[in-house]
């Protein structure tokens, strides 16, 4: 099992629950890409994930945000973004 921080584990559980994935959240490598090869998510999954995140953590991921690609590049990056930008 890859090493996850507690924040990463929380986000991994959020991903598998909200997207109804069969993947074990503990098995998601924080450095593995979320999109396509990697966890296998597509752009609609990432839209769904962004909606869940804005609802749960109280910040919006905007379309013109230049950091979007890195926000969703891996579990580790996503967890870091949430930690930095969450309002609740």
């Amino acid at each position: 099992m890859p090493q996850q921080s507690s924040q990463e584990h929380e986000v991994a559980e959020l991903i598998t629950q909200s997207l109804n994935l069969d993947t074990d959240p503990n098995a998601i490598d924080p450095a593995q890409p979320l999109y396509r090869e990697g966890l296998g998510l597509d752009s609609i999954d990432l839209l769904e994930l962004s909606l869940v995140i804005s609802k749960k953590y109280g910040f919006q991921i905007k379309s013109d945000d230049p950091e979007n690609v890195s926000v969703f590049s891996s579990l580790g990056d996503l967890a870091r973004t949430i930690k930095n930008r969450r309002t609740k």
Binding site: Y35, R36, D42, L46, E48, V69
Partner: protein
């Protein structure tokens, strides 16, 4: 195999397209229209697989064997819509004879300030309708497209109208849809075509004109996530410069259950495909998928 339409090289397209656009915009529409005959014949003779795909589709829809003449008519219809689109994008399409049904649906969405999903198909000219909607009616439309397809045609239309090109979202990147909820939440419209199975995307098999074919689930999933009405649209070519444009309510909302979601998605796709078949029967030569649509491979 499913990548056929993506990977088919656009042989000769660049040369022909540039020539005809130049002639059309600098000389006359009549001259450009006359040239569509040899150009359609050129493409018909050039590539076998699109021609076979055309005959295969036409045989299904007409329920009788079809040959070169039918395929030529099919190609020529497509060519005419491309040329008309040039005039639309250049803002010089006063000659168009448009019969519009159901536009009040869009107006009422605009009045309410509520966004919606516009769902179409590669039947008739989606891009022409988008051009007309944005240029003439100032509709807040963003279009989701797969830009791996037709780079030459895309570049040309980008040059003709950069504003319209800027309102296109390429589906093929991780963050392409992130933030689209904000566009729709502000009353924006999102246009998507529901017939082409994009390589690697989620899809379901559904009977279409007698045999199963794959359809993308993206439109249904998007409607569910964005919680907006879904309006079907078609822009059918009905003769030289004549188009029949229609909008119809498909769903007030699409709500998918957490359990058995796939079955619910399939039901919505079946409804979409039923309407698609009806529009194909209404205007058979408007089907612009020139590849083996029923291919069951990857």
């Amino acid at each position: 195999m499913k990548q056929d339409w993506q990977s088919q090289t656009e042989r000769g397209t660049s040369f022909w397209l540039r020539t005809i656009v130049w002639l059309a915009l600098n000389f006359s529409r009549g001259l450009a229209r006359a040239l569509l005959y040899p150009i359609s014949a050129f493409f018909l003779l050039l590539a076998e697989r699109p021609r076979q795909a055309s005959c295969n589709y036409l045989t299904r829809i007409k329920e009788k064997p079809t040959g070169w003449l039918d395929a030529f008519h099919h190609y020529h219809t497509f060519a005419q819509t491309i040329l008309d689109r040039v005039f639309v994008f250049a803002g010089r399409a006063d000659f168009l004879d448009l019969n519009v049904q159901g536009f009040d649906l869009l107006e009422s969405q605009m009045d309410k300030g509520e966004g919606c999903l516009l769902l179409g198909a590669h039947v008739g000219s989606f891009e022409m309708l988008r051009g007309l909607g944005v240029i003439r009616r100032h509709l807040p439309i963003k279009a989701l497209v797969n830009q791996e397809n037709s780079p030459i045609i895309r570049t040309l239309f980008e040059c003709l109208n950069p504003d319209l090109a800027a309102k296109v979202i390429n589906i093929g990147t991780a963050d392409s849809l992130v933030g689209i909820d904000q566009h729709v939440g502000q009353g924006g419209m999102l246009a998507i075509l529901g017939d082409r199975d994009v390589h690697g995307g989620k899809r379901v098999s559904c009977d279409f004109l007698g045999d199963p074919a794959y359809f993308p689930t993206a439109p249904v999933l998007l409607a569910h996530l964005l919680k907006v009405p879904v309006i079907l649209f078609y822009c059918l070519h009905r003769g030289p410069g004549r188009y029949e444009i229609s909008f119809e309510r498909f769903a007030e909302r699409i709500e998918l259950p957490r359990q058995n979601r796939d079955a619910a998605v399939r039901e919505w796709i079946k409804r979409y495909v039923a309407r698609l078949e009806q529009h194909c029967q209404l205007a058979p030569y408007n089907w612009f998928n020139f590849y083996d649509f029923w291919d069951q491979g990857d």
